[in-house]
Symmetry: C2
Subunit: 334 residues, 2 copies
């Protein structure tokens, strides 16, 4: 069913406020989930809300904290998320970091003990809107096998990069797995096979059965290189945040464990550098106009697709599975 974004936003805010989340934090968490829906990333959208509400109910998510930050060094902010809501802790960290940038030019926030931070593009784009370069990484439960391996040993370990340019910013957001577990779930629900190369089953055998894949492991993207990148993110986050490594991580997919993964945010003030946002925009323009493989599909810049989907969905409404909407409205009435 198609629903107006405003209806879903108000519903989400109400459900969060009912559990003690202050209005501004509830609006922020709702905005993150709605932005994922608007950009066509439902795996990071409202289907995550019931779990989050359970986590608030179970004391695994603290409705009021913004996290407790300590400047370990002038540009190094260490944050205990105190079980806070992911976007509340991250956006607060970014606000605090900005105060340091005038002196330092760049800063890092290493975050542990925060709940799921959702779609990373949200933060990268927020940084770019403030004229800053933002690099965001996050770890997760073990879902991905190493290149040449068959056991789930790494998180999906996404990274997002936002870079200001004249006009639209560059906003990259990619998981280092070849596909998200959300997409495998969606194939399973629709009874469709998954393409070869996406996953192995519990015994490490390549599989096209999405149910077998859910019990097994997803492949890294880009073979050895994507594996290397995902592993670098796994180690970087754990080294700086002191968070757990994938095989020991819980709490982003369940409502019984604290979230012990980690998150990193690096902000850089490009005005300290020697480049120009006009030069970047001119280059991106050249890329868009460069010769495409398929004449009907111009070369795309990361962020273009999400912006186009966002504009379209804001008009047509958000497509939500009816059972999910009914579940949320029942919670609203409860």
């Amino acid at each position: 069913m198609k629903l107006p974004p405003t209806r879903l936003r108000n519903l989400t805010v109400a459900l969060l406020e009912k559990r003690g989340v202050p209005a501004d934090s509830a609006r922020l968490q709702a905005d993150l989930l709605l932005e994922a829906e608007l950009r066509g990333l439902p795996s990071h959208g409202l289907q995550r809300l019931p779990l989050l509400l359970s986590r608030l109910d179970n004391g695994l998510a603290n409705p009021t904290t913004r996290g407790n930050g300590t400047w370990q060094r002038d540009a190094f902010l260490s944050i205990d998320g105190e079980r806070g809501l992911g976007p509340v802790v991250v956006m607060n960290a970014m606000r605090v970091m900005q105060s340091a940038l005038k002196e330092t030019g760049l800063a890092v926030a290493a975050i542990r003990n925060a709940n799921h931070i959702g779609m990373l593009a949200y933060y990268a784009e927020a940084a770019a809107s403030d004229g800053l370069i933002g690099i965001v990484m996050s770890t997760s439960e073990a879902l991905v096998h190493p290149f040449g391996g068959t056991q789930a040993m790494l998180g999906t370990n996404p990274v997002a990069v936002g870079i200001p340019a004249d006009g639209d910013p560059f906003v990259l957001d990619l998981a280092t797995s070849v596909v998200s577990m959300g997409k495998i779930n969606s194939h399973a629900m629709r009874g469709l096979p998954i393409p070869p190369g996406w996953a192995v089953d519990r015994d490490g055998r390549p599989t096209t059965d999405p149910h077998a894949a859910k019990a097994g492991a997803i492949a890294p993207f880009g073979d050895a290189k994507g594996y290397g990148l995902g592993l670098a993110i796994e180690l970087l986050v754990a080294a700086l945040a002191g968070s757990d490594l994938a095989p020991d991580v819980h709490g982003t997919l369940d409502d019984i464990h604290p979230a012990n993964k980690g998150d990193l945010v690096i902000l850089i003030d490009p005005s300290a550098g020697s480049g120009s946002t006009a030069a970047l925009a001119a280059y991106l323009g050249r890329l868009r106009l460069s010769r495409p493989l398929d004449p009907t599909q111009p070369v795309a810049i990361p962020g273009d697709g999400a912006r186009a989907r966002r504009a379209a969905t804001a008009k047509t409404g958000i497509e939500l599975p009816q059972p999910l909407f009914e579940h949320l409205t029942a919670l609203e009435a409860a």
Copy 2:
């Protein structure tokens, strides 16, 4: 022909010193080239030396400068490489950055106007040897086409990450192209076709002819994700270093233009963070022992292969094409 590393090292140092490079800088540049040979990366080894010597002869490489650095902010070092030798400028930047880390916890150096910095793993590993996390990026001439495109618009834009762990460090070094131009050159020299998916020809048609590929463009690794990552590196480096963007870059493959690409180095002191090198090493150990796809090929950690090749080659000697060795010895005698 197999040659002892010491013979090649002395030869390289002598050729550089003859062109006015001070002894310590000559040893550093030689070490970078020899390390590439030892690790089985000849495209970044001594086959780059004749071009570098020409660049010194032609005034495109300054034998004596270490680059001119300015702290734009407390953690942001802007460097004019003054046409210096790549490794000399980068290693000097890393030395200068270390003085800031005690206060700031992390720092970035944005470098323009330095010559080719070669194998990035060298710097990432040097950082890890000092107990630091090192992230290094570099841009280049346009050699890579966008995902969905067919024209060379991006550099091969490598990134390296070094992370200290108990025992051996994690050292990742990857180009964001599916393959290096060096490997395509090597197929061309040996008269072998290249696999489908590596490259397109001058007219944008997929090709397995290495000669046609050399006139065309290389694919990014990992489809849209690898393209996005390569583009992020292209933009990050240009935004901070003020270097040129790939279609306008020259000077890493010729001896007629100044090198106008850029390089970035980020150093982070993990002692400011909350992680432990023991936990990282334990996790890497679990990964190595996890179930492999091929029972005869254990899961590898980035850096393992290079270390093994280095140890083997140090004993057996470096395999060098005879014409290259003869060319270098002729220059030595000249």
